[in-house]
Symmetry: C2
Subunit: 123 residues, 2 copies
Amino acid sequence: MALIEKNGEIREASCKEELTAMRESVEILGGKWKLHIMRYLANRPCEKNSFKKMQREIDGISAKMLSKELKDLEVNLLVTRTLLETKPVTVEYQITEYGRGVLPLTETLVSWGLKHRSKIRED
Amino acid sequence: MALIEKNGEIREASCKEELTAMRESVEILGGKWKLHIMRYLANRPCEKNSFKKMQREIDGISAKMLSKELKDLEVNLLVTRTLLETKPVTVEYQITEYGRGVLPLTETLVSWGLKHRSKIRED
DNA sequence: CTGGATCCCTTGTGATACTG
DNA sequence: CAGTATCACAAGGGATCCAG
């Protein structure tokens, strides 16, 4: 059972609240790239993850999508954006400590996907 | 670390294989309704989950989407479809034992969503 | 009752060219 | 280098009607 904190009190979330929470999670983390980006940054916590480098290394992502997704993730406090006053300017992205909270989710998805593939193949 | 079974041998999945697995999971379970439906059926394992009843009880879903989503879920062995020769015919859906394997995922999403909401509100 | 067919609108995503 | 603007297209999803 999931717990919810509202107006200072902690209680059990209702079924409807759980559904809403799930939908919000999917909205925030769903789509083709968000979790991919999170994993990418999680695997490179100490490197200089410049925009250009990310675009080169994340399989087929376009600048437009990378820009948009990073902005969304930043709004949700999952990544940080650091502008460096080099010439020309560079920008570095890093996953936040809070952002690491999505890693259990990506792990669940990875292992489910692997199991599912063998399940589907076996019949 | 996630394990993968391929050609009879078991080994650790490569980073790329993990990404592919994650993407497949999102493709199969993503979208607006799939996980919602799975939770609905998981909470009603013994009831007669007719198409009509589901459409009435799952918030704003249209017949088209419910039909399509259930078909997708059935192909992936996550739900079963039983045609009853009543007059007129009725159809019952149930979550499979295998399908219950997605419940840890929905729980993760629920609790992440609840935590995230309070996180975002607090600043 | 189930759910397919059709039409239509919105959103997501990609390609390319361009600016500070 | 880091993005934005624009165009174009595919996919997601809703409404309605209809057939078995």
